[in-house]
Symmetry: C2
Subunit: 237 residues, 2 copies
Amino acid sequence: MNTALIVAAGQGTRMGPGVDKLFLAVGGRPVVAHTWGRFDACPDIDEVVLVVREGTAETFHALARAARWTKPYRVVAGGRERQDSVWAGLNALAPATELVAIQDGARPCVTSALIRACLAAARQTGAAVAAQRVTDTIKDSADGQFIARHLNRARLWAVQTPQTFRVEVIRAALAAVRAQGLVITDDTAACELIGQQVQLVESASPNPKLTTPADVAVIELLLQPRDAAEGSRSAPG
Amino acid sequence: MNTALIVAAGQGTRMGPGVDKLFLAVGGRPVVAHTWGRFDACPDIDEVVLVVREGTAETFHALARAARWTKPYRVVAGGRERQDSVWAGLNALAPATELVAIQDGARPCVTSALIRACLAAARQTGAAVAAQRVTDTIKDSADGQFIARHLNRARLWAVQTPQTFRVEVIRAALAAVRAQGLVITDDTAACELIGQQVQLVESASPNPKLTTPADVAVIELLLQPRDAAEGSRSAPG
């Protein structure tokens, strides 16, 4: 079986004080409910594990009651760092779980097709991640003052979620991170430690993470039903 | 004197066939008019040179008549590559020009403060560029199939425009590019060829380039008067 592990325990600071970005309403629903709904609707997902902040579990149960999800779910308490939350989620997986899809709760535009492609890649190679080619021109700077080096954009990928793994692979990778006392920014970085290759799966459509207030408008647009979105995109006036 | 060199000769393909992104209406005005207006309003800019596609000059003159700009401007025809257009623009500069601010026509959210900061940096060091710290997690891949290397995000900057130069610096840098038959993606890359250091000037506010349809909503939001933008940003429902 395949399980979605939705990380919904973070506390973004860039939305401004007191704003929990996971519960911002976009298209009449909290952002995290959109994310959850995408996995609930994906035929390749059997169960959903939500890793949440202490004291917010009841809010997620209420969401589930309102949304009438079709897939079983569990809610578990997260930890201090993102990697602690993922670890807590892994410990809550059903024993029969073969593949796990780790997902940012604040990344609601993920598609069923992308989830399936990431799961298929992880089944084959052990680890995979949704990613998009970098479109900005990127420079390397040692001091933040002057450009040190131009980077070859053709080689650069921005990684997103889902990050998908055979369960034993991500368990071994995160155990190595914990044993060495490291703090990692994404789960694929843990794979480097154990020599596990990570396959890139190109996202066919935008898959942004809600981080700053400016992201709200983009995500609102992306979550609109197709026809409405096309309408608001046509433009020249 | 300081001159803005607005590159408005490109033909973006990612907006869909037949859509000229420079003339998409945002907030009731073509994108390129917003860009032009920012430089017209900046006290440190004395003149504006627009480099445009063959056959579109009259459209720009009409824009100028409608907008009643305060600064003198010239319209010149661009070339095949971006660097050819910049070269054509440099050849049209008034002889008294000391500093030039090269700007993407499709980057309308540039502020007066950013233009001034970039000009000040170029006056001091010869070359400078507006830039923002990279917020995505970036991986290097040799084959586009597997992650080869994790990049240290703390060293990565996405460069934007304005790119500002002492006129003799950018002339020498682009002459080197042309002599070697290279095609470069941004003007700061030309500086590397002649050993000219380029200073990074951090943009305090978002400064996106209109590239894909999804960018329209963000830019629309960013160009709203401050109060209106704040209103549409507050959210939890």
